[in-house]
């Protein structure tokens, strides 16, 4: 669900229904570590294109090695009945929402979305709030975000190489009409908003 929210907000979610399971991003060498050597699921062959952005319920599940970024969010292991999902807070979840390719890509997608929709900075922030939180960010929140935005803009303007690296993450190509430093800065703001407690919880 959480991943889906990120994808959807980043305009990446593919709404195709049904079909075989897909294999989205996964760090290397997860399946090899646990598998029987002659198994047909020893090597994880990541797919490309739309397959990366399907709804999470279509993700291929290997019970011995569930997808880490779903496992960290207490996805049930399918060995036992689950009547109620656990709800936990772990640093691994934080690491995923900050650093996972999926999330960085989604943040960038969200940044593109609000930039393309146009408007001033405040309007863009408001739009992000509406997308993620179903409300316009209240003034204190908006103030923090704007301050952060200006810091990020300064930083990426001074480091175009970093901006390029950041926006290139993920297989979906960035929108070339948006200058990279701008996109990178907004991607960071989007990432911040995606990492908010309010986004992830409420």
């Amino acid at each position: 669900m959480v991943r889906d929210i990120a994808l959807q907000s980043g305009n990446l979610l593919v709404r195709q229904i049904g079909g075989p399971s897909v294999k989205p991003y996964q760090p290397p060498s997860i399946w090899e570590q646990v598998s029987y050597p002659t198994s047909d699921t020893v090597h994880y062959a990541q797919e490309h294109g739309d397959a990366l952005h399907r709804r999470s319920m279509y993700t291929y599940v290997k019970r011995m090695a569930p997808l880490p970024n779903m496992d960290a969010f207490d996805a049930p292991t399918r060995d036992t009945v689950c009547t109620r999902r656990q709800r936990t807070d772990t640093p691994l979840q934080a690491l995923i929402t900050m650093n996972d390719v999926q999330w960085v890509e989604a943040a960038r997608g969200l940044a593109e979305r609000v930039i393309r929709a146009g408007g001033s900075q405040e309007q863009r922030i408001d739009r992000m709030g509406l997308i993620l939180l179903s409300r316009v960010p209240p003034p204190p929140m908006a103030a923090v975000l704007e301050k952060s935005l200006s810091e990020m803009q300064k930083r990426y303007a001074a480091n175009p190489k970093d901006a390029h690296a950041l926006v290139s993450i993920g297989e979906k190509k960035p929108d070339s009409s948006i200058p990279e430093p701008e996109l990178a800065a907004w991607a960071m703001i989007a990432s911040e908003m995606l990492n908010l407690d309010e986004t992830l919880n409420k």
Binding site: P37, T77, D89, K161, V167
Partner: protein, 516 residues
């Protein structure tokens, strides 16, 4: 809403805190109350009373655990009342030999077997044991003595195979249990039994229990770390699964965190390209400030927890690379562990990391080494396996000892079961195979809580049955818990109507004979 006939007060004045409902339910209500406020609804108080009969208390404990001992540990008070008594060991390192090492070839010295080469093992020894499908159909069960000689070492005069020259050097520090036995004859159930106390999936493993019960000693590193050794494709690598370090029904924050040798040491540790530490810090500062605003507005304690976890994630981003940075290790380390230890993913490297983690207060480290499943070609495979693990094990114990860490660390070396005295497949002077054997196997421990230089338990002349002081896997786990100050009978968690314990409902006993 119409007033309940039994209530004389207006509904708004009653809170579930006043009702005779389980305390877990009350806690649940309290934490959801904030969500109610956010959504702008008033609570239907009496609805909770009605639901009291439907909810089990256990499922509501998750909420109580959400802040868990990890955060509580900061206050130094463990709300579970653990350890029950003063522990000898504060931390444990578990060297798990997945696949089952053959005890006859390594530790369980049976010189009488040499004369019995190729004799049939008497059927009386086996009794009515059900063998695996791999050997049940064999026409004969010829005895295969150990191919390698044994010698005595140390002041205790312990017999060790020539295959383990390094382990031989430290026999005076080790406690051997030769009478360990298990119920399962195949890998998956046996390995689950060793790790989680139950052959069925879904139970927390030893590390998760310890993380839950004792909490963390270091707020910057995970409490329970799992290290996988790179597999050698020539070996028979039985699978392991993330179930073995899972937290089962306990909160997932107690699951083992894999420390990997490929890519990020902890998954997703590295900031993405284009984001440096300063940027990450600024981003986090912004997120946390907004979260604090949320906390002030909504009052959900979970928010607090989330702030803390983000901070810990940030700290881990520097503490974990520091942990895996071996550049400052003195030359004496490489002299001890060998040059292999410089290569990430090897067993020696993992042992070195385990020592570093012990220094930094990681509560429980588990290293998996796969490939011990020598159904055939014991003569070819076993020396390789020993070569991969012997020096590392010795180096770990020695390193801990000389640094003063062995006084409060417990080191464990174990597989999931033993191997048969009879040969699986053909038997020749040059080679043989061994099948699974649950009735007896050898494990060793070293360090705090166990007496060095002791061998506990005996097997019969065929190393087939235990004849003295049997130690079931349950008892073994109970003993480990005991060394860490936990009474395995009292350490339980109510789930699905049962007081779940690591040692399962079947009675288990601490092995007093090896304790200090």
């Amino acid at each position: 809403m119409k007033q309940h006939p039994l209530c004389s007060d207006c509904e708004d004045k009653i809170t579930p805190m006043d009702l005779p409902i389980p305390s877990g339910l009350k806690k649940e209500w309290a934490t959801c109350e904030s969500r109610r406020q956010f959504l702008g609804r008033t609570g239907k108080v009496l609805g909770w009373a009605a639901l009291a009969g439907l909810f089990g208390e256990a499922s509501l404990n998750y909420r109580a655990l959400a802040s868990g001992p990890n955060l509580q540990a900061g206050s130094g008070i463990n709300n579970l009342g653990l350890p029950h008594f003063a522990p000898k060991a504060k931390r444990a390192i578990y060297l798990f030999m997945s696949g089952a090492p053959p005890q006859i070839d390594l530790f369980d010295y049976k010189p009488n077997l040499a004369a019995q080469f190729n004799n049939d093992m008497p059927a009386s020894v086996r009794g009515n044991q059900q063998l695996t499908g791999m050997t049940a159909g064999q026409a004969r069960f010829p005895i295969a003595p150990a191919h390698w000689p044994f010698k005595q070492y140390g002041q205790t005069g312990t017999w060790i195979s020539d295959l383990l020259p390094y382990t031989a050097r430290m026999v005076d520090d080790l406690t051997f249990i030769k009478s360990t036995n298990t119920d399962a004859i195949n890998h998956e159930p046996a390995i689950m039994l060793m790790n989680t106390g139950n052959m069925n999936a879904g139970k927390p493993c030893l590390g998760a229990w310890l993380a839950y019960g004792l909490g963390s000693m270091n707020d910057n590193l995970p409490t329970f770390v799992v290290l996988q050794t790179k597999t050698n494709p020539k070996e028979n690598n039985q699978p392991v699964s993330s179930r073995l370090w899972s937290s089962g029904f306990l909160s997932s924050e107690f699951a083992g965190v894999g420390l990997r040798s490929v890519g990020d040491p902890v998954l997703y540790l590295q900031d993405p390209a284009g984001v440096d530490r300063q940027t990450r810090r600024k981003m986090l500062d912004a997120v946390e400030e907004i979260n604090r605003q949320t906390l002030a507005e909504v009052g959900d304690p979970e928010t607090n927890s989330r702030i803390a976890q983000y901070e810990m994630a940030y700290r881990m981003q520097s503490s974990v690379p520091e942990l895996t940075d071996l550049s400052k290790e003195p030359e004496s380390t490489w002299d001890l562990y060998g040059p292999e230890a410089k290569e990430p993913g090897t067993f020696a490297y993992n042992c070195l990391l385990a020592r570093r983690m012990a220094e930094r207060g990681v509560r429980f480290t588990q290293i998996y080494k796969r490939g011990w499943d020598v159904h055939d070609n014991v003569v070819g495979n076993l020396p390789v396996l020993c070569g991969e693990t012997d020096r590392g094990s010795y180096a770990l114990v020695t390193d801990l000892k000389r640094r003063g860490l062995l006084d409060d660390t417990l080191v464990i070396w174990a597989g999931e079961f033993g191997r048969t005295v009879y040969s699986q497949g053909g038997l020749s002077q040059e080679n043989y195979g061994r099948d699974h054997h649950p009735r007896c196997f050898t494990v060793w421990m070293a360090g705090a809580g166990v007496r060095p230089g002791v061998t506990y338990g005996e097997t019969d002349e065929y190393s087939y049955n235990v004849v003295k002081d049997p130690v079931h896997v349950r008892d073994f786990n109970a003993t480990i818990l005991h060394c860490l100050g936990i009474d395995h009978n009292k350490f339980a968690y109510k789930f699905q109507g049962l007081d779940q314990k690591l040692t399962s409902p079947v009675p288990a006993f601490v092995v007093q004979g090896i304790l200090t």
